[in-house]
Symmetry: C2
Subunit: 296 residues, 2 copies
DNA sequence: TCAGTTTCATAATATCATATTATTTTACTA
DNA sequence: TAGTAAAATAATATGATATTATGAAACTGA
């Protein structure tokens, strides 16, 4: 019994005629006859009583008619749902991101995306290595990470140029100057993320490259906590512009230049090289670039 | 998309491997590959991500898998239900009968039948012409009637020989004699069914054939009411043995012979000549004959 | 009642989807 | 890095499912 068989049978039931069903299905009448009698043979039940030249459903016929309609409806529903997926009227996108992007950038990006498309967006935050693993597993469709990616099977495309800013409280003595020499930092209390974080890595590497000594007095794993501590003038810190732009604009934190030292890094979009790029996937990447051009 | 396609797709989903699915379905691996990629072409969605040589379902793939299982389950359920019908584990039988048989015989027959088979039995009582019409319509599967059937398209097979008994109250003067001469009936008050009833037809026809005059004093359309009236000695009546056997055995009514006059008729089983005789149908006819041999 | 029409069934044949085998490409494994 | 295994591709074979042609039965209307 095929779906075609069921479709033919249901049509015959509804039109109470094989010829009429044949016409409706744009096929010959004998094809319909054959299909019905073949079904009767396979199922070993009579589906129609042929009384005169009138067809009436037998009891098993009525049962099959009821099931047949349910089956065809389910198939139609499945096809139309897939069509919705194809046209992005529904869908699923699993995104992963490393900490900074995940907390300060992606929530808004995803929010905007969901305004445009009513799709489910799953969102995971982990460090770069964790996101890389999830991509390899095909547990997420796409990632945005700060660190370098090692797997050869992962496509890496540049996304946003990030920069870490040296920030201090508006009550700090640097707040007026807005610019210091590298030497001035040496005796300052610095609040910093823990070892292993991308932010700290960039900070230490840049400082070393410029031969600037420094003193990390407080270690906090949470960027928000660091911001609060800096605002309270407990120390200064070096934080991604994504995390502090709002506070700088609001005057609660002040960005301070250190000669011409800049703490730079790149965020990358990553995905598996064999990943099939669905319409939704491509649309999301376009969305990412549109969004980034607004914040540059 | 055919049921076969869905079956193949679902198997691949469950085994997460095309080769394994091919093995399980006793078919070649390329056939599976082709089916899947053809489905992807038709539905215009990617169903699997081929990452390395591992298959993982895409989002549309997961949707189709869920629908696919529901569809296959429904098909299986339909087939097994039809199998139940074929094996008489369920079914439907629509029976019609004319008044006397319908009231005094069929309820018990159907009750016994339902003890043997858990099937739905629909039961209609009408006069012979009405039952004949329902057979022609295929509104009922089988009828039991007393009168003659006219349509050439209806098969009539003899069922039970019925006889009408002249009955009187145990307090009637005939109750002792149990036999009278035809002439004795002429001055007796007779209670009788209405014109057009099979019972009255046989009564009048037999009386006329034997040149016996009679006087119908009371007309009642309901046989039970007639029995009560006779019991109350309001008059005598002529009633099918099926309707009065119990009362005669109980002594509440007395059967009286009128010389050697007998009111005889036949009940017939009727069905449409083109009717497909399902197992249940045949079984019911066997059941009817078994039952009748108990009451003869 | 009987020709004309309609409906379903059957038979012979054609077509096309769906299988098969053979082979290539790619990736995992020892 | 060879060996193995999985999926994809290509060419071909097979068989189910169409088609046309025709027949039988039954309804319709003069």
């Amino acid at each position: 019994m095929t779906l075609r068989d069921i479709e033919i049978f249901v049509t015959v039931c509804e039109l109470k005629s094989m010829s009429a069903a044949a016409k409706k299905l744009y096929m010959s009448q004998p094809a319909v006859s054959q299909t019905i009698s073949q079904m009767e043979g396979e199922l070993q039940v009579r589906l129609f009583d042929r009384i005169g030249r009138k067809l009436t459903l037998t009891y098993p016929g009525e049962i099959l008619y009821s099931y047949g309609r349910r089956i065809l409806n389910l198939v139609k529903e499945a096809e139309s749902t897939l069509d919705d997926v194809r046209n992005m009227r529904m869908g699923r996108l699993r995104v992963g991101a490393s900490t900074t992007v995940g907390i300060y950038l992606l929530p808004e990006i995803i929010g905007e995306f969901r305004k445009r498309f009513s799709v489910d967006v799953y969102f995971t935050i982990d460090n770069t290595a964790g996101i890389e693993k999830l991509i390899s597993d095909n547990s997420i469709d796409l990632g945005i990470v700060e660190g370098p990616v090692h797997s050869r099977e992962i496509v890496v495309i540049p996304y946003i140029d990030d920069e870490l800013y040296l920030v201090c409280s508006k009550n700090h003595r640097w707040a007026e100057k807005k610019s210091i020499s590298p030497a001035e930092i040496e005796n300052e209390d610095i609040i910093m993320r823990e070892k292993g974080s991308g932010t700290r890595e960039v900070f230490e590497e840049t400082m070393a490259r410029n031969n600037v000594r420094y003193r990390i007095k407080y270690v906090l794993t949470n960027t928000e906590a660091i911001k609060k501590a800096v605002e309270a003038n407990i120390g200064v810190s070096v934080i991604s512009r994504l995390a502090v732009e709002k506070e700088i604009r609001g005057g609660r934190l002040v960005k301070v230049d250190i000669g011409n030292i800049r703490f730079e890094r790149k965020f990358s979009i990553i995905y598996h090289k064999d990943k099939f790029k669905s319409n939704l996937f491509e649309e999301f990447i376009r969305h990412l670039y549109n969004f980034s051009s607004n914040i540059k």
